[in-house]
């Protein structure tokens, strides 16, 4: 019996998986990145060009495109990846190429092969697609696809030797307009795309070298030159993000499956933190970004999500974990054949391997939290030996013995006492998961309250302020 598949399935495959339009930028850039991994070209380049006047977006890569005879078939296909068996593909599943469908009037794929005098084009008509969605009750997906797609080829006016693959979003919708006009759009793209570290980030070479040593492979093969309207995007790390601990590495392996096999590797985690772990500014790339083949999964709190969901082992509340993560900068760079991204690409499919990863991350968060707590205790009382021993042990545990002598010296160097940072954000420290409006309101109230307390009682007023803030924090905690 033939299974009826209607256009609703297409809707589910596109819009349901990609609610946030920023994801489509990731999808198309990753598509180009995959093409480069399969078939590297000289000076691989991915250019995103946004024209806000005529509301078009182009994703152009100088890769070798799709084989002439396969282009139409692949562009029409749904849910069949064109990545074949390429071993290092970043892992999209055919449906990724349609991620812009709900957000534009027309989606055009252009394929130009080296040596060819023509370009092939394939379009998906978003307008007709939306119309079909509102009217059709058809269960014939193939017929619906025929109605909304078109294939043609035309003479190429440029040089035959050129080769490229281009995706054009024509007349994009208001969701994308809104996204692009947000002040932090470039920064957000830099966080999610598989771009390079800036040369100015002095830990770049250290991370590359450590990754190559441990993984036996180069991280650079997953890093790409991506340009947004002519400006190259880089990962948003600067030297300011290298904190007092310097760069600490954790090398992650799966357990041995048998005596015949070496430990299979998961990836490399690098992170950096201050001796006293306090929240880093919210606009900086704080937290731990998990990247599979350099593609971002979830948010900076992805590991807190993973550790708190369905885990028998309790580490701390979600809030405590995110607060702890706010105190570090880092990335977990994963490349393994044993983990597959889940459909939403915010974590990995649940299986024995991802559970093993969760166990490692649980251990990591436990150690990070233990250090944060011990450091906070020791910072306030540098005389008590037990606290000193505890913080040194916690540091050694977290960093696996990384320069703990230096740490001890610096931690107990009393010549310079840390001062409260002017950029301290109360809301993120106290209520990290609330809405932006609530956070802003809370932030302003606290700043005003602090000013009031110090104006009335000077330095003594700080004590009253801290008491009120503690009360508010407890009150908000109890409401959650």
């Amino acid at each position: 019996m033939r299974i009826g598949m209607g256009i609703r399935l297409l809707e589910t495959l596109t819009s349901a998986l990609y609610e946030d339009p920023i994801v489509l930028f990731r999808e198309y850039v990753q598509n180009s990145a995959d093409a480069f991994i399969r078939h590297p070209a000289v000076d691989n380049k991915i250019e995103i060009t946004i024209n806000q006047d005529d509301r078009t977006i182009e994703f152009l890569d100088n890769g070798y495109g799709v084989e002439y005879d396969e282009f139409e078939h692949k562009m029409r296909n749904i849910g069949i990846s064109d990545k074949g068996s390429a071993i290092d593909q970043i892992g999209f599943r055919g449906i990724g190429r349609l991620s812009a469908m709900p957000f534009c009037r027309e989606l055009i794929f252009t394929n130009k092969l080296e040596g060819s005098s023509e370009v092939q084009k394939f379009s998906w008509n978003g307008e007709k697609y939306n119309k079909l969605l509102s009217q059709s009750t058809s269960d014939d997906l193939e017929k619906a696809v025929d109605e909304i797609t078109k294939y043609w080829s035309e003479k190429y006016s440029g040089d035959d030797s050129e080769h490229f693959f281009k995706v054009t979003l024509v007349s994009y919708g208001d969701e994308i307009s809104e996204l692009i006009s947000m002040g932090e759009f470039d920064d957000n793209l830099s966080k999610i795309l598989p771009v390079k570290y800036a040369d100015a980030f002095s830990a770049k070479q250290q991370i590359h070298d450590h990754y190559a040593d441990f993984m036996g492979d180069r991280l650079e093969k997953f890093e790409f030159d991506v340009f947004l309207n002519g400006n190259q995007l880089f990962k948003p790390y600067t030297n300011e993000n290298i904190l007092e601990s310097d760069i600490v590495f954790w090398d992650l392996c799966f357990d041995k499956t048998s005596d015949d096999m070496p430990n299979e590797k998961i990836g490399v985690m690098w992170f950096t933190f201050n001796r006293k772990v306090s929240s880093n500014p919210p606009k900086s790339p704080r937290g731990l970004y998990v990247r599979s083949k350099n593609m971002l999964l979830g948010t900076e709190y992805a590991i807190a999500d993973s550790v708190t969901k369905g885990n028998k082992e309790y580490v701390a509340t979600y809030r405590e974990l995110t607060q702890t993560l706010n105190g570090i900068y880092g990335e977990l760079l994963i490349d393994t054949a044993r983990l597959s991204d889940n459909a939403r690409r915010d974590w990995f499919r649940i299986d024995a391997s991802s559970i093993q990863l969760r166990t490692i991350l649980t251990d990591y968060l436990r150690k990070l939290k233990a250090y944060r707590y011990a450091a906070s205790q020791a910072f306030n009382d540098k005389q008590t030996q037990a606290k000193k021993q505890k913080v040194i042990a916690a540091y050694e545990d977290l960093t696996k013995g990384f320069d703990s002598k230096k740490f001890e010296q610096e931690f107990y160097d009393t010549t310079e006492e840390p001062k409260e940072d002017n950029t301290f954000f109360y809301a993120d420290d106290d209520i990290p998961r609330r809405s932006i409006t609530a956070k802003k309101f809370y932030e302003e109230i606290l700043i005003g309250l602090k000013q009031y307390c110090t104006a009335i009682d000077g330095e003594q007023g700080i004590e009253s302020f801290i008491k009120i803030r503690t009360f508010l924090k407890q009150y908000l905690n109890s409401r959650d």
Binding site: P262, E264, K265, T336, A337
Partner: protein, 254 residues
């Protein structure tokens, strides 16, 4: 005369010695039909001769590793009295009853894999079946099958593979079900140890590729296959053959 030739000559002389006059001694031990396998690590001699490295410890370490692979695979069969093995420098000889054909093939495949993945070295061997005698609790193995296995390995295996003689296939036809014996381009049968390990571990080619990359095997193979690093064609071809073995198992070397 090379050491190999001396060994062969000695074995041939031993083989052709006239039978001693029977007297009150126990009956002379006769040959039995058994499986004989010989596996040799490639590149050890070059390491020993390499005056630059002059690192006896690493060589001893490699030898002991190999000894541990052999003993961990064979000891339980030794205890049952159905198998014997003898390590001779960088190689080892294994003798087993004919009905242990599958186990011998698995042991050889396992050891070839361990040598590759843990020691980053290649190995070459041969398996045959014929007349052999094991004496002194396994410390002495003699007989025509011994000579055959040794000669096959050094003369016919050529590449980093374990070849299988026709005699082995015919003598063990009632017992052999090992499915990773393949025919090579020169019509020689060999053990596809990569396929065997993938099957044993239920790994696909993508996962196997990743392991080989992580352990630096792909890099090592590519490096050694490069004429700039390995000018001698007879050595380079061993790496080339191993790369083609991976490729036959759909494992890309990139």
């Amino acid at each position: 005369m090379s050491n190999d030739s001396k060994v062969l000559q000695w074995l041939a002389e031993e083989d052709s010695l006239p039978a001693k006059e029977p007297h009150e001694e126990p009956p002379r031990k006769s040959y039995d039909k058994k499986i004989v396998a010989w596996l040799d690590m490639l590149g050890i001699r070059a390491k020993i001769k390499d005056e630059k490295t002059n690192d006896a410890e690493s060589i001893i370490n490699i030898m002991s590793q190999m000894a541990s692979y052999v003993s961990s695979s064979c000891d339980k069969y030794m205890a049952e009295g159905v198998m014997s093995y003898l390590q001779i420098a960088d190689g080892f000889m294994l003798v087993a009853d004919l009905n242990y054909a599958d186990q011998v093939c698995s042991i050889i495949a396992d050891i070839q894999w361990k040598i590759l993945i843990n020691l980053k070295m290649l190995s070459r061997g041969a398996i045959t079946a014929g007349n052999v005698s094991v004496a002194n609790n396994g410390s002495l193995i003699i007989g025509p099958a011994y000579v055959d296995a040794y000669a096959m390995e050094s003369e016919n295996a050529i590449y980093a593979r374990t070849i299988i003689s026709d005699a082995f296939l015919s003598e063990t036809k009632d017992y052999l079900s090992f499915k990773f014996i393949k025919e090579d381009f020169d019509r020689t049968n060999y053990i596809d140890y990569i396929h065997y390990i993938m099957d044993k571990q239920s790994f696909d080619s993508k996962r196997m590729h990743k392991i080989l990359v992580e352990q630096g095997i792909c890099k090592e193979l590519k490096k050694s296959y490069d004429p700039k690093n390995t000018p001698k064609i007879n050595i380079r071809q061993k790496y080339g053959w191993t790369m083609s073995l991976l490729s036959r198992n759909k494992i890309e070397i990139i």
